[in-house]
């Protein structure tokens, strides 16, 4: 029945990804925690997985005019050297330590998500 989990992980990972909520984490968690894949291999698969998901999500979001393209450029401009440095560091650190660091990162994010308070005006988003 492992394929059921694969389908569920990829489906919900993509849902959360398309919502822009960091869904990449879901497939990554499935690959490492459930399948026991090495951290680096799982990260590579997760990155490729995100590309078609992002393409679909971006088409829909662009139609709803939810993307502020002006903000994208500065983020990507310095993001690219960041990616290069990050990928290089990941390789240096190795899967073993990397998976512990990722666990620590998830711990911080998880606590933050749980302590997140809903904004006072719940649908501030309906304006504009």
């Amino acid at each position: 029945m492992s394929w059921v989990w694969a389908v569920l992980a990829s489906f919900f990972g993509a849902v959360i990804s398309a919502l822009g909520m960091g869904g990449g984490g879901i497939l990554l968690i499935y690959l490492t925690v459930y399948l026991g894949m090495s951290q680096l291999e799982a990260q590579g698969i997760n990155l490729v997985f995100f590309l078609p998901v992002a393409a679909v999500a971006l088409c829909v979001h662009a139609k709803h005019k939810l993307i502020r393209w002006k903000m994208v450029l500065p983020f990507v401009a310095l993001g690219l050297p960041g990616v290069w440095l990050g990928a290089w560091l990941a390789q240096k650190v190795g899967s073993e330590l990397l998976s512990k660091l990722f666990g620590g990162f998830l711990l911080i994010i998880g606590i933050r998500e749980l302590s997140f308070k809903a904004p006072d005006k719940p649908d501030q988003n309906e304006q504009s």
């Binding site: 919502l19 291999e41 990260q43 590579g44 993001g79 690219l80 994010i109 997140f116």
Partner: protein, 119 residues
């Protein structure tokens, strides 16, 4: 948009890129609150964050492939579920209060964190 904070986009981009390259994920988890700080509305920040991460993830994936960290065909298995989920999530974004998803997501990743740290 809060103009006085705009320059922050550059260092924030560097941080998002670093995370994306290092963890192969997680750029979105920090990118969205950053875009909020820069003055974007909630849903705008979620959608814009995907536009930021997509090119970064493409380069990152290329680097991982180049270093032979994984085989491309191993990712294919997750494509159908991924495409269906992407459509569902993109449809949901303008219709949803994200707070409940965040709670569920928070529980899931705390569970994963404990598993990763204790294995």
């Amino acid at each position: 948009m809060k103009h006085h904070k705009r320059w922050l986009a550059w260092p924030m981009g560097l941080a998002v890129g670093l995370l994306n390259g290092f963890f192969g994920s997680g750029g979105g988890m920090v990118g969205v609150p950053m875009l909020r700080i820069l003055g974007l509305e909630t849903q705008e920040s979620h959608a814009t964050c995907i536009a930021v991460i997509a090119p970064l993830a493409a380069v990152s994936a290329g680097l991982y492939l180049y270093r032979e960290a994984f085989a491309l065909r191993d990712a294919l298995l997750y494509l159908p579920g991924g495409l269906a989920g992407a459509l569902a999530g993109a449809w949901l974004l303008p219709r949803l209060k994200t707070v409940w998803i965040r709670r569920g997501f928070g529980v899931l990743i705390l569970f994963a964190a404990v598993r990763l740290l204790t294995r």
